[in-house]
């Protein structure tokens, strides 16, 4: 099979525009969580989220990426995806010109929920004003694969055009699937990742009803996301998009592209257990990690850093147990952290931004911290990187993503040594 490397990354995160800016905030141990201000939260159990800043340092302005008249026609998750894809393609320096280059470049961008705001608003229009007032842009502006569609139209990418929907493992599955498309020869370059704009009253109410969200820290949002901590009580919702440009190794070398790392492993599994709860001992996660490791042809002792799914829910310790089982005696040599402690849970975009953090951990030889980890709920030999980043050797990084429905994805990246 052909080898696949990452040559470009792009991100719109709860810290703002760009991976470098976001990475700096994460390494500084900052939290992006704050009280939700874009709608009234008085009657919601969870009143906090990690929203994209529209002013201040790193501020995101959608006009920089999408013409205002076009923004009106598309859901916000699509705008985030377009913006992150622009940044990733620019970072990769890949601008397909010839017909062959365009046909060899594809897109796989997913979303967990898609245009929930557009759907709920249009439902109200339908009720109040009737079907003749439903916009012709309602459907094409809210369906999930339209991020891939828009990105392909804007950049002339005529290769495989696909979209993944696997809840909170969407971003990881999109990147893993796209890497396989390159490995199998369907494309030479793929633009892959996830985009999500879930901070709406409806989704906060829905996830709170599932008892998935943090509700104890409405007055102190910056300490609400606390993976593995004894006082964790649910995840903090985030929004944004992460996009990675993946490329066949020789193709990347031939054009002198910078290479963040190689996608060496991808493992998938299903729990076949429960709609929202992970299987006992996170057995499905264990199998996904084992499959990814087998694909990568590495030993557990080769794994230096794990970017955990670690959502700040009860499931954190189950994931920890599964990783301990995977690593065995090598556990004491590995670092594992959850960047969700800083930026919250971006749902369908989580696995994509966490892929980028894993690649940056390899680039900078530093494990990002798990902030707010004051009192670990379980004893472990694994370094959970509390509070401060850890400078260390990172040649191999593993990233986990799990989703409702019992879907699990694991990606493994390796520093390219030549």
């Amino acid at each position: 099979m052909r080898r696949v490397v990452a040559t470009g990354v792009g991100m719109i995160s709860p810290f703002g525009v760009g991976h470098e800016h976001t990475w700096k905030q994460i390494l500084a141990g900052k939290s992006a969580a704050r009280r939700v201000e874009r709608f009234d939260v008085d009657d919601l159990a969870c009143k906090i989220a990690c929203s994209i800043p529209r002013e201040g340092e790193g501020a995101y302005n959608p006009d920089d990426f999408v013409e205002p008249k076009e923004q009106r026609k598309i859901g916000e998750f699509i705008t985030y995806g377009i913006a992150a894809a622009d940044l990733a393609l620019e970072d990769a320096g890949w601008k397909p010109q010839t017909e062959d280059e365009k046909c060899a470049t594809g897109v796989v961008i997913g979303s967990g929920i898609g245009g929930i705001e557009g759907i709920s608003e249009t439902t109200l229009t339908l009720e109040e004003k009737g079907p003749r007032r439903v916009s012709p842009f309602f459907i094409p502006g809210n369906i999930i694969n339209m991020v891939s569609g828009q990105v392909s139209i804007r950049h002339g990418l005529k290769g495989p055009n696909h979209a993944v929907v696997t809840a909170c493992s969407t971003g990881a599955h999109a990147i893993g699937d796209a890497a396989r498309m390159i490995a199998l020869g369907d494309a030479d370059v793929m633009v892959a990742g996830g985009a999500e704009a879930p901070i709406t009253k409806l989704s906060l109410a829905g996830f709170a009803a599932c008892k998935a969200l943090s509700t104890k820290y409405n007055d102190t949002p910056e300490i609400a996301s606390r993976p593995w901590d004894s006082d964790r009580d649910g995840f903090v919702m985030g929004e944004g998009a992460g996009i990675v440009v993946l490329e066949e190794l020789e193709h990347a070398k031939a054009r002198g592209a910078k290479i963040y790392g190689e996608v060496v492993g991808y493992g998938l599994s299903g729990d076949a257990f429960h709609i929202t709860a992970p299987a006992e001992n996170h057995e499905g996660a264990f199998r996904a990690m084992t499959a990814a490791m087998k694909r990568a042809g590495i030993e557990a002792s080769d794994i230096d850093y794990v970017n955990a799914h670690g959502t700040s829910t009860m499931a954190d310790t189950l994931e920890l147990g599964a990783v301990e089982r995977l690593l065995g005696d090598a556990a004491a040599n590995a670092s594992m952290s959850s960047t969700k402690s800083a930026i919250g849970h971006l749902l369908g975009a989580a696995g994509a931004v966490e892929t980028i953090f894993s690649l940056l951990a390899i680039r900078d030889q530093v494990a990002p911290p798990t902030i707010n980890l004051d009192n670990p709920a379980a004893e472990t030999a694994i370094d959970l990187v509390p509070h401060k980043p850890r400078e260390r050797q990172i040649d191999v990084a593993l990233s986990n993503s799990f989703g409702f429905g019992g879907t699990n994805a694991c990606l493994i990246f390796r520093r390219l040594s030549e």
């Binding site: 013409e67 008249k69 007032r133 916009s135 012709p136 842009f137």
Partner: protein, 78 residues
């Protein structure tokens, strides 16, 4: 320009993001103002909303220019 024409023009400028000078009575939504078929559907909806008229699909199909829209609406609201 009539009041109706002014209001139509404003809607067209807002929805299609075009410069005001381009929105002449003779301007074709698709050929001159860059609209696609979905844009024209949305424009007709906006006219209905603004003027409180109903524009049936077969009538909408005959509204190709800014002037067509103004004349249709003026006839309905006269």
């Amino acid at each position: 320009m009539s009041d109706t024409a002014e209001r139509v023009k404003k809607i067209v400028v807002e929805h299609l993001g075009v410069e005001e000078e381009k929105v002449t009575m003779e301007a074709s939504f698709i050929d001159d103002l860059g609209a696609d078929s979905l844009d024209t559907v949305e424009l007709v909806m906006a006219f209905e909303e603004e003027f409180g008229v109903e524009i049936p699909d077969d009538a909408a199909e005959t509204i190709l220019t800014v002037g067509d829209a103004v004349r249709y609406i003026e006839k309905q609201t006269a």
